[in-house]
């Protein structure tokens, strides 16, 4: 498929996920690089160019360099980057440390906040959450393989709407789900 059509489809999937938090979209693949799900690269190809910056939660310079070559995006520190990439192999402590410092915008320009593209590792323990907020008709129940600690920190960073971070979660099967800053999550104890 030509890139223009591929990125268009990928964007529409992402847009639907943002508009309807909790709903899962299916991402297509076009290319792949080491260290990321190919579907993650699809998302990055759709959103990245020379006008934005990113940083991956990853110690290797290689990933940064390859993504720069793919997209032209600039690498900036965690507290300045427009996008944060969290590969599946990143550990929880690393993620929490980054999430603590990423930008959440300011009241005048709340859009100047980080978007976090996070890969969900395989075989993670899934917890059921109840989602509420704009885009959700009834309280939506979603199973998520995401540490409650991360979600708790997300809630703290998003507590002063319109400030906050938006999350794009991608699992190993290429399913994608978005948690914009407006979405509230509550764990459902079974």
């Amino acid at each position: 498929m030509e890139t223009v059509h591929f990125t268009q489809l990928t964007f529409r999937t992402l847009m639907d996920c943002f508009a309807r938090p909790g709903s899962k979209g299916t991402l297509q693949t076009l290319h792949s690089i080491d260290g990321l799900y190919p579907q993650t690269l699809s998302v990055l190809m759709t959103l990245f160019d020379g006008e934005i910056s990113f940083q991956a939660v990853d110690d290797s310079k290689r990933l940064h360099q390859e993504l720069r070559q793919w997209t032209g995006a600039k690498v900036k520190d965690y507290h300045e980057a427009d996008f944060i990439i969290v590969p599946a192999n990143a550990n929880k402590e690393q993620i929490l440390k980054v999430l603590e410092v990423v930008k959440i915008g300011n009241l005048i320009d709340p859009q100047q906040s980080a978007t976090i593209v996070m890969e969900l590792p395989q075989q993670s323990n899934e917890v059921v959450y109840q989602l509420t907020g704009p885009g959700i008709l009834h309280k939506e129940l979603v199973e998520l393989g995401l540490s409650p600690d991360i979600l708790a920190l997300r809630a703290i960073r998003n507590r002063e709407f319109p400030l906050g971070v938006d999350l794009i979660l991608i699992d190993e099967n290429g399913k994608v789900l978005a948690l914009p800053r407006t979405t509230k999550l509550e764990e459902v104890k079974s």
Binding site: G50, E51, G72, D109
Partner: protein, 362 residues
């Protein structure tokens, strides 16, 4: 049914478009893009500047297609620009490297490197030349040959490259207000929306893209009393400016991609400066630059640049007033949109006015 286009609007529009095409050809005459490109320098320079697209060929095409309508020509070029990927930014362009075609200073009688008049309308008596009514291609070729017969000196000691700037002379003397070097990366206003307050790079870009007449009027207003400044034109230079692009992750020298014709103006504006508790008078520099040879626009731009830089109460010191209204595409677009049907909004208003009237009569 008239304006309420229930059905048939599409056909009417097609007919209007056909009529427009006919207007361009109905007198049966033809002009080539090549001829326009060779003879319409002033028009092309103006539309290239206002459209932020440097191509004489495309500007000539736009001129032909729009029947010489500047508003439409700029529109065509801007719209074309939106379809082009923009992969690189040039390196910092220094007008000291310009190959100078014209360079004058109103501030000094004699300047290092000399006053170079070049080609200018400034010294022309604006009398219609009726001989041109009958001019033929053969006449043009004869005149061209005659000019090219004029003896040029074999060697000249007149330097046209690496000419010093008038400003350097004043700066050496400590008469230009000192600022720390600002190496902030410019923000591209065509890729990121303006946010207020703006920085200088955003202001200069917006002004250089501005409609020539609008910039001129604003500069004039500033000069006449709606601004705090009466500048001295320090230097106007027009010439060929080399442009380079550097690739990231590449140790090679920047690549030369060509030269553009550029007008650059530095105006000197006296300002009060507090020098360690002592009031002294120093010069500020107002800056103007645009594609092609557009001296009036560049001078006016230098006045407005300085007015916005220092701020103040009158309109030309107000960045939102200036920057949000100088763009040709935006102003002509919104003015012309008034011609579109507005009957739903009008009906909503009508219903309300009737209701208010009824209420008042009760």
């Amino acid at each position: 049914m008239a304006y309420v286009a229930v059905r048939g609007g599409a056909e009417a529009i097609e007919a209007s478009l056909e009529h427009l095409q006919y207007e361009r050809v109905k007198r049966g005459a033809h002009i080539s893009v090549h001829t326009l490109q060779s003879t319409m320098r002033g028009f092309l320079d103006q539309v290239m500047s206002e459209s932020s697209l440097y191509s004489e060929r495309l500007a000539s095409l736009a001129m032909k297609q729009s029947e010489g309508n500047a508003e439409e020509a700029v529109f065509l070029l801007r719209a074309h620009r939106s379809t082009l990927p923009r992969m690189y930014y040039s390196t910092v362009t220094n007008a000291r490297e310009m190959f100078v075609l014209r360079r004058i200073s109103a501030s000094f009688k004699d300047i290092p490197g000399g006053q170079i008049l070049g080609a200018s309308h400034d010294y022309l008596h604006r009398l219609l030349d009726f001989d041109l009514l009958e001019e033929t291609v053969a006449d043009v070729e004869l005149k061209k040959a005659a000019f090219e017969q004029i003896n040029k000196p074999e060697e000249s000691n007149l330097a046209l490259e690496q000419l010093p700037k008038v400003m350097d002379y004043l700066r050496d003397e400590g008469l230009i207000r000192k600022f720390s070097l600002n190496n902030q990366e410019p923000k591209d206003v065509t890729k990121q929306a303006l946010t207020f307050p703006t920085n200088r790079s955003q202001r200069l870009q917006t002004l250089t893209r501005g409609q020539t007449g609008t910039i001129t009027s604003l500069g004039y207003a500033g000069l006449r009393g709606y601004g705090a400044s009466h500048p001295n034109v320090g230097e106007v230079r027009v010439g060929w400016q080399p442009i380079y692009v550097a690739l990231e992750d590449d140790d090679m020298d920047p690549y030369y991609i060509g030269a553009i014709k550029l007008t650059e103006v530095e105006s000197f504006i006296p300002v009060d400066v507090d020098d360690d508790g002592q009031q002294v008078l120093e010069f500020d520099v107002g800056y103007g630059a645009c594609f092609g040879q557009n001296e009036t626009k560049a001078i006016a731009m230098s006045i407005v640049d300085h007015a916005l830089e220092v701020g103040g109460d009158s309109p030309i010191h107000d960045e939102e007033f200036v920057l949000l209204h100088v763009d040709m595409i935006e102003s002509t677009g919104f003015i012309s949109h008034l011609k579109m049907p507005h009957y739903v909004t009008f009906q909503a208003k009508l219903e309300q006015m009737r209701s208010i009237k009824k209420e008042g009569n009760q």
